[in-house]
Subunit: 299 residues, 2 copies
Amino acid sequence: MRELKIVENIRKIAGNPGKGVCVGIGDDSAVLKYDKNKYMLWASDMLIEDVHFNVKKDGYERVGRKAVAVNISDIAAMGGTPKYITVSIGIPANKRSESIVRALYKGLKGLCRKYDVKIVGGDTNRSEKLIIDVSIIGFVSKKHLVTRSGAKEGDIVLITGPVKDGKKTHLDFDPRIEESGSLVRGHKIHSMIDVSDGIAPDLGRICDLSGVGARVLADSIPLSKGLSLKDALHYGESFELLFTMSASAAKKLIKNSVSRGEKNRYYSIGEITRKKDGLRLVDGKGRSTVLKMEGFSHI
Amino acid sequence: MRELKIVENIRKIAGNPGKGVCVGIGDDSAVLKYDKNKYMLWASDMLIEDVHFNVKKDGYERVGRKAVAVNISDIAAMGGTPKYITVSIGIPANKRSESIVRALYKGLKGLCRKYDVKIVGGDTNRSEKLIIDVSIIGFVSKKHLVTRSGAKEGDIVLITGPVKDGKKTHLDFDPRIEESGSLVRGHKIHSMIDVSDGIAPDLGRICDLSGVGARVLADSIPLSKGLSLKDALHYGESFELLFTMSASAAKKLIKNSVSRGEKNRYYSIGEITRKKDGLRLVDGKGRSTVLKMEGFSHI
């Protein structure tokens, strides 16, 4: 997969980021030292016309909204709280420029207001195709930080809700900030990622960085109406949180959420295995096959 | 000028950034509270193929270099030290993707090494046109922070070196980090900006945000070989620092730099006047005309 190879190359070129950086390239956010109790989280995510959206069909406001949502989701995946963004945009230079900016920012601002995120800077340029790159800063208590690299053999793999059909919902999803906060404050989460590219590649990333394997039970993956198992595994843009925790903690989490009437909130979909077992899918009859890390390709 | 109007609109939409933010949209970097002694600086600057560079003529490595240089320049303009970047790129998805990434990062990494800046994250996407958006974090001692909004009537306007011909040098310029550090540590600088769009619009920004006017002496503007006065005023991409300080401090600065053999390092090019006097250009015969804020247009 070209993207994985490119990211791996970038990580090599970038080199050791030094002692102020706890987590560098390769996780949902970079983790920087901040103060005695907190880490600072920092991520950037770019959306490009005709790659990530179709502006005629989707409209500027929803594109602006999504540009913030994907970045907030990166902070949620680390257990953090989003705080500030900068916004770099490229838009056509013509008499419609001002109304395009207004519509984009209406979407941006709407979601920022919901999550108390402040817009503090950015850059405006002309471009044939619409481009919007948001950079986000958030914070997380040291004791609540979760990365992609902490999964342990025997962990249960869970997801925050039925996998949505990203093709239909990718512009309007709500990042799982509330769920993330509730998870890291009340439970010991070993690893977490947001499902941007599909369960297979995103769980594969957890496995790669944690040095483990995983077995996914096909029948246990909760699917939103009309979604195929294949798209849940390999398409992505669902933005649910995929996370792992010990079997006893997972049991407690699910029991508690049921007793609080939150029955459908967390779903166990598999377990973490040894590295040498790789990433596998088990069907309803117990047949196990290799699960390829293919997913939504950014490049 | 469309860009100024758009940025003003964005500032209105973004609203009050709250008490953690000392300077929001409208300066070279956002200024965030950090600790007892330091502020955190944060900026983002996007470069787009065929708007900011021609990749066939310029080459990927130099484009990568420039993407970092313009961001480091934003930190220099606040008196700060650059520390970390994230890099979002859009590149054509084909068999050359990997070699393009390598060349871009060679340029990025080269300049990062020179200024001890670490690459800590980013995002890679496919795009017909090459896009590179760098987000940078730096730090500045509270007592050394300089913004665009501190110019005072009677201040001298200075520049860090002969205005370069941005059309020729914009890919290879060295951001004025060393000069910035020396200025803020040794002198009381009232306001500062990097000349990205031309002396006229950039000094105009200082005037707007400081609530003052300015008079520029045409004959005193140091020009690199072959550069026209018009391009120095209205083209930009020179990336020298333009700054203001009291007349007595300016005298001392220039005297000291001469005695240290740094004769050509700082040039006085005019003075800050009252707001109602506006932005004016004075020619060799003492004739004063209105200086329009027109410059390199990003949109």
